[in-house]
């Protein structure tokens, strides 16, 4: 039995909107075990984004508890949360969020810059390793505007990997990409999940993408409505191969 990476218990998050309380999350509970690949689904307004912010330690629940890797994040202050994010979480965003006019290598190094325990030599080595893991060796000195969307997202994934997080948190990470590139990214994610046993939480509204994960959690109106294991995980690499060939990206 694997240990729980995260435990959510009766999680609530309320917002004040013009004097009215909006329950963005209204009592959500679930656990995620190490090595799971979970998609969190939901239409807009379902509380998906709020859930993402809390899972990412960017926000705190109003009530209930969220325990990530054995720590209740409610006890942490702003700076401790920042440290916690730095050590435990790898973010992948829809719009990549790479620093412009900065090389791929430097972009990947970024999280380690905020970790004083890592020397600049080690930082560089680990950044190169992470870029190799996403098959971008040879593009170390390319700047974001010299890379395709898929490549930029892979740089972002490398950045999420570099600090050896306990969980990768992806926010609509394929939302800006075409089907082929999306499948490439999903294939990469599956690889990380299978080979490196990375726990991945993937927030999306595309049911298509959920098929690649091992478990799907569906939110609606701030409540968990469905939580099911995926018996038949679709292989992204196979799906990619099945796509009709295009003269698009060759790499």
């Amino acid at each position: 039995m694997s240990k729980n990476i995260l435990e959510l218990h009766d999680l609530k998050r309320d917002f004040m909107m013009g004097g009215e309380t909006v329950h963005a999350l209204n009592g959500v509970s679930f656990n995620v075990e190490e090595g799971e690949f979970v998609t969190i689904m939901g239409s807009s307004g379902s509380g998906k984004t709020t859930m993402l912010n809390i899972l990412g330690c960017l926000d705190k629940p109003s009530a209930g508890s969220y325990i990530l890797d054995g720590t209740d994040i409610k006890q942490l202050d702003r700076d401790q949360l920042a440290r916690f994010r730095n050590h435990k979480i790898g973010f992948v965003f829809q719009s990549y969020n790479l620093l412009p006019r900065t090389t791929a290598l430097e972009n990947v190094e970024l999280p380690l810059l905020y970790n004083p325990a890592v020397s600049s030599k080690e930082r560089k080595e680990r950044a190169m390793e992470a870029l190799k893991a996403v098959k971008l060796e040879g593009r170390y000195n390319h700047k974001p505007n010299e890379l395709s969307g898929g490549q930029q997202q892979r740089v972002a994934i490398a950045r999420a990997l570099i600090n050896e997080p306990v969980m990768i948190l992806a926010d609509e990470a394929t939302g800006n990409l075409d089907t082929r590139t999306s499948y490439e990214i999903m294939s990469l994610m599956q690889g990380l999940n299978h080979e490196k046993k990375k726990t991945i939480i993937f927030v999306t509204h595309e049911p298509d993408i959920a098929l690649f994960s091992s478990r799907t959690i569906t939110l609606r109106d701030g409540k968990l409505v469905k939580d099911e294991k995926n018996g038949q995980i679709k292989d992204a690499a196979a799906a990619l191969a099945a796509l009709p060939p295009t003269e698009g990206e060759t790499k």
Binding site: L58, D79, A82, N86, R101, Y114, P116
Partner: protein
């Protein structure tokens, strides 16, 4: 984040916007350069005033025959008749803090030599004047007590007078000139002293025994002023007080009655002039300081723009583990780098400007390390002060909102 990394990061950020960084610096550059130039001009003129005044004799005490206390009708100094030779004698006899005393009796007129003439003034003085006013003789000799007693018609000329009434190369010593209608024998020529601080030509002068001037030209027993030398500069104030007491006694002024004369020491004059030029320096420096302030506001403005522009970057940095302090430091260091780089360029430019002013306008310039250190320090403080608020704004952003910022 480590400081080295922060500094590297800030340099990188500035490099991406070179023109903007330079334009932001420009305010600081101009501010610092003008502070340094203004201060070196101010200090330079202050020093030149001091040196030219002590050139006139730093122990000099001058007694004027009028009182410049405010109120009442003011009378032109030369028309007041209160100082006489009795005062001079009393000073010579009683003063213990004075090393030399000389009356001055002055008359304006025309010096004539052959076909040439020149309007100037003749000063009747005692032989001690050379010590008091630090005059030196280039050719010939000074008159002595004998000439004074005899009201001898001898005189010494300043260089300007010589240049105007003698042909070049002609030796004035021994020649006869006329002042108004009275013939004088030239017995000496004074070394040139140039212009004084007020732009007055100190060489446009004829000096003669005071008896000669009083008896033969002005025909009056009243003096223009009395000049004296204190035994030392430190004794100046004591000497001035003693002089006042002695003259009050000879004038028989009762207790409570105002002085009918004024005693002024050179030290006093120096400090008056210094305070005037000091005021000017302060004023110029304040104006320059205001431009530095505007430079600082420029930094603040651009840092705010930069923070807004990079909101998303800030959000990202926060989400991957930057603490508030990391973001604060990043922007603060950027602001300080702008102001310090601007400061360094400004210091160099200020020094260059001062040297150019010294060489082209021939103004006296004195570069002080003090002004350089001060303006540099002000730069760092300006950068920190004006960079702090934008940096703080950046550090307080909510990572969630910053990430979603478009």
């Amino acid at each position: 984040m480590k400081l080295v990394n922060l500094i590297r990061l800030s340099f990188r950020a500035l490099q991406r916007n070179k023109l903007r960084a330079f334009l932001t610096m420009l305010g600081i550059i101009i501010g610092v350069a003008s502070v340094i130039a203004m201060m070196s001009i101010g200090k330079g003129s202050q020093r030149s005033i001091e040196s030219s005044l002590s050139n006139m004799g730093s122990n000099l005490i001058t007694i004027f025959p009028y009182n410049n206390t405010p109120g009442g009708a003011r009378i032109q100094g030369s028309s007041v008749q209160s100082l006489t030779l009795d005062d001079v004698q009393a000073l010579q006899r009683d003063a213990t803090h004075l090393s030399a005393v000389s009356p001055t009796s002055q008359a304006g007129g025309q010096v004539i030599k052959g076909a040439l003439n020149w309007p100037t003034s003749i000063q009747g003085v005692a032989p001690e004047i050379t010590d008091i006013k630090k005059l030196t003789i280039k050719d010939g000799t000074m008159f002595g007590e004998d000439e004074v007693r005899a009201s001898a018609k001898v005189c010494l000329l300043g260089q300007t007078v010589v240049n105007n009434i003698f042909e070049p190369g002609e030796d004035p010593v021994g020649q006869i000139i006329r002042f108004n209608k009275i013939p004088f024998q030239v017995i000496g020529v004074l070394n040139p002293k140039g212009q004084n601080t007020f732009g007055q030509d100190q060489d446009d002068i004829v000096i003669a025994p005071y008896t000669t001037v009083m008896n033969r030209i002005t025909a009056t027993r009243y003096l223009q002023n009395i000049v004296a030398s204190a035994t030392s500069e430190a004794e100046s104030d004591a000497a001035a007080q003693e002089v006042a007491e002695i003259i009050r006694r000879t004038h028989r002024l009762r207790r409570g009655q105002d002085n009918d004369f004024t005693v002024r020491t050179q030290a006093e004059l120096i400090s008056t002039l210094n305070s005037t030029s000091g005021l000017l320096t302060t004023l110029l420096t304040v104006i320059a300081g205001i431009s530095l302030l505007i430079g600082g506001i420029g930094i603040m403005n651009i840092m705010y723009v930069s923070v807004t522009e990079r909101t998303k970057e800030i959000g990202l940095r926060m989400s991957i583990g930057a603490r508030g302090i990391d973001i604060l430091m990043q922007f603060l260091i950027e602001a300080v780098i702008i102001s310090v780089t601007g400061g360094i360029i400004g210091v160099v430019l200020g020094i260059v400007a001062s040297v150019i002013i010294a060489n082209t306008l021939h103004w006296p310039i004195l570069l002080s390390e003090f002004s350089i250190i001060i303006s540099f320090a002000v730069c760092v403080v300006t950068g920190m002060f004006f960079g702090y608020y934008p940096a703080q704004k950046a550090s307080r952003l909510d990572p969630i909102e910053a990430l979603r910022y478009e």
